[in-house]
């Protein structure tokens, strides 16, 4: 990527902690990064990221307080939701019965857990997908490991372009139009994560 076309990534500041690791991951890929809660900055970025640490209630409340829900819904540039950020692209979440952004149909549910299945789902798990399922996964091989940390999940459906299994089948990657989501943390998924983020930066 030449300097002249270096992507400008806007990370939406949800008021929740830990957008730093996402910012550093994009900086390692030589992208220009801004963390913002200003609609004008988000709208002028080449790529937008909804990061994901915190609770669904707090995240949506902060987005509403900053008047950002419509701004995000109207985006036409590539937009990537990570972890909670991906979950809130769906219609609603069981976590605090929260109305989410509704970019994808579906409901975020609590992970059921069970014998030998710990909740949170925390650690490195394998991705299952059909090769060439999404531009986001180019260069990633099915059965590659990615780092997951979450207690709520989106059940696998036709919308999922990659899944992982932890007692239940979980949507790991989702995409439709310009909206993309990863349940795992690409910024903490070593080489696999860097590949996903590089693919995202190459979308226009």
């Amino acid at each position: 990527m030449s300097a002249a076309t270096a992507p400008r990534v806007a990370i939406v500041d949800s008021g929740c902690a830990n957008v730093a690791s996402v910012a550093y991951a994009f900086e390692r890929l030589r992208a220009e990064v801004v963390v913002t809660d200003q609609a004008s900055v988000i709208e002028s970025a080449s790529h937008v990221v909804l990061p994901g640490v915190g609770t669904a209630q707090a995240f949506m409340a902060n987005l509403r307080a900053a008047d950002l829900t419509e701004c995000v819904r109207r985006l036409r540039r590539p937009c990537l939701g990570i972890c909670l950020g991906m979950q809130l692209m769906f219609g609603e979440s069981e976590e605090g019965n929260t109305q989410a952004l509704g970019l994808f149909p579906g409901r975020v549910k609590k992970l059921p857990g069970g014998r030998g299945i710990t909740v949170p789902h925390m650690g490195w798990n394998q991705l299952a997908f059909d090769p060439a399922a999404s531009a986001l996964l180019e260069g990633v091989t099915p059965s590659d490991y990615a780092y997951f940390v979450h207690s709520y999940y989106v059940p696998a459906s036709d919308l999922a372009v990659a899944t992982t299994t932890h007692g239940v089948e979980i949507t790991a990657v989702v995409s439709r139009d310009n909206f993309y989501g990863c349940q795992f943390h690409p910024e903490r998924s070593a080489g696999t994560g860097a590949t996903v983020l590089r693919n995202f930066l190459e979308l226009s």
Partner: protein
């Protein structure tokens, strides 16, 4: 299926990585960022940084190195040491740590676990437990970073773990103090009891010396991760070599 995690632990004191035997006589083993980079390149699944002086000296972990580590690491890391409030935790998480681990402050005020879980989600909140086998009981010790102050907290290990999980701990690190630094293997019996007691991810700590110690703790105690320090710092075991060995033993690890 979730891969078993290999977690080098870097005990930090005054901005450098140190290691002592049985929590005492600390020696400097290296620079924080240099060691973090080496473990990243060897394929560690996660790193834990413990500021072992922080709780007992009542000061917050110095935060600058957290940011330096976050800039170079592309695997998760957890910061422990002297996190006494939501504000302390927020400062560490904002610098790029994935998780915060609390130990003595949670014993002083168990409500801290719930406060952190409410604010950041349970997946961010690790409770570290320093456990000593004494008189046939499992006892939680506190202020273990300081030989002068290290003492029984009055709590039972399994009871405390259950309470921590009820309050919102998303992971338990069980450090078996009798085994720490002596390299005779993890305390399988104690870890198995803990595995039965809690449903959240469980990380074994204390006692790793040989490759087969890791195999045994994953096979018999069914822990989610194994933490070790000196065998990695002294390069007696390399993370990549350990993972190849575990894979040959039929244990799922990330290549």
């Amino acid at each position: 299926m979730l891969a078993k995690r290999i977690i080098p632990c870097l005990d930090v004191r005054d901005g450098v990585v140190v290691k002592g035997v049985r929590f005492r006589d600390h020696q400097v083993v290296g620079d924080i960022v240099e060691l973090a980079r080496r473990y990243r390149d060897e394929g560690c699944d996660e790193l834990v940084f413990y500021d072992i002086t922080a709780s007992s000296e009542q000061r917050m972990v110095s935060r600058d190195w957290v940011e330096n580590v976050a800039r170079i690491l592309d695997v998760p890391f957890c910061v422990a040491g002297g996190i006494r409030s939501v504000e302390d935790a927020s400062a560490v998480l904002q610098r790029g740590a994935e998780k915060i681990s609390i130990n003595s402050p949670a014993l002083e005020r168990p409500g801290l676990v719930s406060d952190l879980a409410d604010r950041f989600g349970t997946q961010c909140v690790v409770v570290g437990i320093d456990s000593m086998v004494e008189d046939g009981a499992l006892r939680v010790y506190q202020y273990t970073g300081d030989a002068e102050k290290s003492a029984w907290s009055g709590r039972d290990t399994l009871e405390w773990a259950r309470e921590a999980v009820r309050r919102g701990a998303g992971e338990i690190v069980l450090n078996c103090m009798n085994r720490d630094g002596v390299k005779r293997g993890y305390d399988i019996e104690q870890l198995t009891a803990m595995r039965e007691a809690v449903d959240v991810p469980l990380i074994a700590s204390g006692g790793a010396g040989e490759l087969h110690h890791f195999r045994d703790v994953f096979t018999h105690a069914r822990v989610d991760g194994a933490l070790a320090a000196s065998v990695f710092h002294r390069q007696e075991i390399h993370v990549n070599e350990l993972k190849r060995y575990l894979s040959e033993c039929g244990i799922e690890v990330r290549p």
